[in-house]
């Protein structure tokens, strides 16, 4: 088994055995979406115009939740020390972490997204919704990884993490909501969608390297 797979399966298994964020996060996503009609009123016209932004905000908030615990457990129980000492490149570890994190915290949101769009009264084809939410959740996961590694050894880590990560999430939010809005008004949304995928193409190869660098710095 390669180190990448080993980390991936370790993280997935430990999540499945300990209650499962992969079940909790979609519930959280649904809860936030449920708050909108309760606070803005059930008027479908109002909901429809606001829905693209509201859906992205709900996904953003749901992506914030798992970040804090991402590396703290591995740091506390000594897993990270062993990984740093092992002869394998640490990037395998961070790469595995990223994929596991997305399967647990991103994929459930992606699967939920067409349903949520439907509930908010958006008339968008579900493959288009998926094409927006896949890069958006991946970007949330990748940027969140960097922020989680940055604030790992810090005091008041969780508050700090939100302060660091929300400004960095802004472009994803703007392009994601922009694409949904264009699709809802029956315009071509290729522009913002390509921006999302281009952002992913840039962030995906860089993140494991940066995260590795940061973890090494934290373990010094």
């Amino acid at each position: 088994m390669t180190p990448f797979n080993a980390i991936l399966f370790k993280d997935l298994k430990s999540d499945f055995r300990h209650g499962g964020q992969f079940l909790f996060l979609p519930a959280f996503f649904l809860l936030i979406v449920m708050l909108y009609p309760l606070s803005l009123g059930a008027n479908l016209k109002v909901l429809q115009t606001a829905a693209p932004g509201l859906l992205m905000i709900a996904a953003l908030l749901a992506s914030l939740l798992p970040l804090e615990k991402l590396y703290t457990d591995d740091m506390k129980d000594g897993t990270m020390d062993l990984l740093m000492l092992s002869p394998q490149p640490v990037s395998f570890y961070t790469g595995g972490k990223i994929l596991a994190h997305w399967i647990i915290a991103g994929l459930p949101l992606v699967i939920m997204s067409p349903l949520m769009a439907l509930m908010m009264g958006l008339s968008i084809n579900w493959p288009d919704v998926l094409l927006i939410f896949i890069p958006a959740t991946l970007l949330f996961v990748l940027i969140g990884q960097i922020a989680a590694a940055l604030s790992l050894g810090a005091r008041r880590g969780s508050v700090l993490l939100a302060l660091l990560v929300i400004p960095l999430y802004i472009p994803v939010l703007i392009f994601g909501a922009g694409a949904l809005d264009l699709l809802q008004t029956e315009n071509p949304a290729k522009g913002p969608m390509l921006f999302l995928w281009a952002g992913l193409a840039f962030t995906l190869p860089v993140t494991p390297l940066v995260t590795t660098k940061l973890l090494k710095m934290q373990m010094d």
């Binding site: 604030s151 810090a154 302060l163 400004p167 802004i170 472009p171 710095m217």
Partner: protein, 242 residues
Amino acid sequence: MFGYANPKRYQALSHYIFIAAAILATLFLSFGLYLALIASPPDYQQSETVRIMYVHVPAAWLSMFIYASMAVAALVLTIWKHTLAGFYIRAAAPIGAAFTAACLISGALWGQPTWGTWWVWDARLTSVLILFFLYLGAIALNNAYDNPDKGNQASAWLVLVGSVNLPIIKFSVEWWNTLHQPASLTSLSKITSPGIHADMLTPLLVMAVGFLCLYSALVILRLDNEILSRKIHVLRLRTING
């Protein structure tokens, strides 16, 4: 050039730069304020409120200049591990945040009589607000570690990530319609034939130079403070450990 990465050699030089910068800042700011508040004509549309611009625009320029200089320092720190670069980020971030706040507040004061509102969710305003939060993040991360060196390194990475992100934020935000006017001074060719009259351009440029000198003086003071407090930290550790 890296000879001055040694704090001692740096301080021998910076002492004189500080004196020069402080004197120049006093001269330029007092002359600039005289020009801006008394000698320059009121605008034909904005009347007297145009004078806010002489503070607002230099503060906005500096808020971006300081972030860029922090990004360079962050690069130097992560590549060459010069401690002084980390000190610089720590020293510059609060000043940068203060100039950004000054820019936002003076902009709001100008916006109320001119646009009829304190705040609009316009592209330019929003991206400056985001810049302010990036500064706050850097400051918070700097102070969040028990080991100050680690705080500096973490903050340097945040500044680097933020500097990649800042143009993306700026352009993504600019997809919305913009109320803020486009820049009047964009390149050197525009300075020779600019979009604003010389009577207004002169005080603006004098104020900008004055702000830059003020920033240099302040950042040198704060850097000296950082070096001293680090020395105290080391001395304390030495007495504890015998």
